[in-house]
Amino acid sequence: MHLDFSPEDLAFQQEVRTFIAENYPADLRGKQDEGDELSKEDFLSWHKVLAKKGWVAPAWPVEYGGTGWTATQKYIWSEETARADCIRLMPFGLSMVGPVIYTFGSPEQKAKFLPGILSGDDWWCQGYSEPGSGSDLASLRTKAVRDGNHYVVNGQKTWTTMAQHADWGFFLVRTNPDAKQQEGISFLLIDMKTPGITVRPIITLGGEHEVNEVWLEDVRVPAENRIYEEDKGWTCAKFLLAHERTGIAGVAASKRGIEKVKTIARAEMDGDKPLIANAFFKRKIAELEMDLTALEYTELRSLAGESAGKGPGPESSLLKIKGSEIQQRLTELTLEAVGHYGAPYFRGFGEGDNAHPIGPDYAHRAAPTYFNTRKTTIYGGSNEIQRNIIAKMVLGL
């Protein structure tokens, strides 16, 4: 057991660095750095570069378009993309429905849907949560009634991230109202252009339009778009939730986040010294690095287990809990660091000139990002639910 990269790994690291330097879209540079909201085109421009190279889905099996990288190579990849501040790809196709399709789908379904996910030609969204079904996801009420070769779907989904751009959605729907909650659910792939679908924006606290309500009224879905067996969709849902949780730790991105906090703390003055010399603030950064390192090595141990054949299990809830808390803490320290300039709301800035700036650029999104990042302990199964999973599934309580 050791931490050293082999010569092959070092060569791979160099290859990745060179590839990013030469191929990362120029107009995306710095965008993630400033927390800009990204357009569909922004997301797709990096996605397409990676798809062309064959590096868009490192987690997938090679036969479906994965890279065949070792766990160490995957680690290097996530480190290097975070270090270079590459934007993160939308997870809904690549990390969520893709693995469900290649794990549970029929050969026809794999052939039909996986290429569009890899190429980026199909933008996916996730139809899970409902207004009455958040943490208690299995209580969902959107129903699908069989009518010949179709299902007729009626109901309402919510918190549907980036549904405003979506070509396809994967939905949990109730196909058997008489069965026990988890046993009457099916997993449907729905073309978002089907008549009867209405997408309405939900504006979040920082003014962002990321999430939506999706209304379904008599939406006719071909039965061939059901993944796995009827009424057995919960199996797919559980599989997907565990997959969602592993990526959610966000270790590499948080490492980069700590570097950004340090940069801000070096620029901000506290009396005659930079803020980073303030003993209290410095200690907070050190504590965050401590927590992040603990998370990183927990994730590495978990990944080692996975490459030894253990699938992501309920212990991935640990990664989600600590990862999300660290992401929030980063935004909290940033907001504290920028002082008075946390208050100006950048969406309301009018015309101005360089002689009369409104604080440093790094301050402009500190508060909206802090507000928005409260979501990380709520989405993907709230942290309360994750603790329930650990208590029940890991500890047997």
Binding site: G206, G207, E336, Y341, A343, A367, Y370, K375, E384
Partner: protein, 376 residues
């Protein structure tokens, strides 16, 4: 010792609370925010003329109601309960406070205008490099004949776009961070050479960057008292936002408690889950301590400077910590709906978050307390 409010103080609270209940519901507030001026100036006029309560902390000889810090706290608590976008803190507590402390002809002239609702004052004290150190001032006021010339840049001046007057801290002599030479000036807001960049704030207010480009001001703009006066004013303002924090945190608690009773998951109200019961109990505990510390701060405002500063710093540090806990847990308990613009709860969270660092973060105030009381 007496912790009871007087009948007059109770009446003040009731009058304001009733008025705000009628005029300041969440939907009406939303509409105010999207008006070009970012507020409804009619509300301020009504507070002045219809209710006649802008004089709450002023002496009767100026047309006031004869109150002080407790009256300001009561007002701020009630304004906090509706997340009011009204310049009470800036105009009455700080601007009015400066005039009360210095007295004289300026006080006689301007205080009645505040009470009448005609004068709106913004407090231009922060600077880009200064954080919460009130003496970390670059803006200069150079003597020039009978008056002064102001030059410099003031950061994030709340209420400046609405102001008739600016209360400005500036240096008449000495180097940056030196206490001696920092003085207070009350000037007209529209003097030649004052350049403003206006913007909304994340908590729904309007504010400005203010650039003084060789602004000639008259000699009587100077309100004598130096850094000691400025520190006293900011301590009074700090206690006032602690009062606002009572209102904000009570509404965060109340809204979240209601939600835990109504929201059903797993076949029962989520408030039936012990983990959330304990969380609600903890929120309750923090809210009560906010109320206690705000009151303690208000009752200590008239003590000698060292005692006053130590007390205000302890109060603000605790209020900041508690607000952080209450706000974050209110949102977490609501889940996704807490992060939307649709519900009031997120807007209370935003204002509460801004109060955390206003006039100094918890770390800043714990540091000031240590310097004052824990010297080796």
């Amino acid at each position: 010792m007496d912790f009871n409010y007087t009948e007059t103080q109770d009446m003040l609270r009731d009058t304001l609370a009733r008025f705000l209940a009628d005029t300041y519901d969440f939907e009406t507030r939303k509409k105010m925010l999207v008006r070009p001026e970012g507020r409804d100036p009619g509300i301020w006029q009504a507070l002045a003329t219809e209710l006649g309560i802008l004089g709450a902390p002023f002496a009767e000889e100026h047309g006031g109601l004869g109150g002080g810090a407790l009256e300001n706290m009561i007002m701020m608590e009630e304004l906090g309960k509706v997340i009011a976008i009204e310049p009470y803190l800036q105009t009455v507590v700080i601007g009015g406070g400066a005039l009360k402390h210095t007295g004289g002809a300026r006080a006689d002239a301007v205080i009645p205008e505040i009470i009448a609702g005609n004068a709106v004052i913004a407090f231009a004290y922060a600077e880009p490099q200064g954080r919460y150190d009130l003496a970390n001032i670059r803006t200069s006021a150079k003597a020039d004949g009978a008056g002064f010339v102001l030059s410099g840049h003031k950061a994030v001046v709340y209420a400046a776009p609405w102001a008739t007057h600016l209360l400005v801290t500036a240096r008449t002599c000495g180097s940056i961070r030196e206490r001696a030479g920092v003085e207070l000036f009350l000037i007209e807001a529209n003097l030649p050479g004052i350049v403003r960049r206006d913007y909304p704030t994340v908590d729904g207010f309007q504010a400005s960057e203010i650039y003084f480009e060789n602004v000639a001001i008259p000699g009587d703009a100077h309100l004598p008292g130096g850094i000691e006066l400025i520190e006293q004013l900011v301590d009074e303002a700090t206690v006032a936002v602690c009062g606002e924090a009572i209102g904000i945190s009570r509404k965060l608690h109340e809204g979240t408690l209601d939600y835990t009773k109504q929201r059903k998951q797993f076949g029962q109200p989520i408030g039936k889950f012990q983990v959330l019961q304990h969380r609600m109990a903890d929120i309750f505990i923090e809210v009560e301590q906010i109320a206690s510390m705000a009151l303690m701060g208000a009752l200590k405002l008239d003590t000698p400077a060292a005692e006053r500063k130590a007390a205000v710093s302890l109060a603000k540090a605790k209020v900041s910590r508690s607000l952080n806990f209450v706000g974050q847990n209110a949102i977490q308990t609501h889940g996704g709906i807490g992060i939307t613009q649709e519900l009031a709860i997120g807007h209370y969270f935003k204002r509460g978050t801004m109060i955390e660092n206003q006039f100094g973060s918890a770390d800043f105030h714990l540091g000031r307390f240590e310097d004052l009381t824990l010297a080796d």
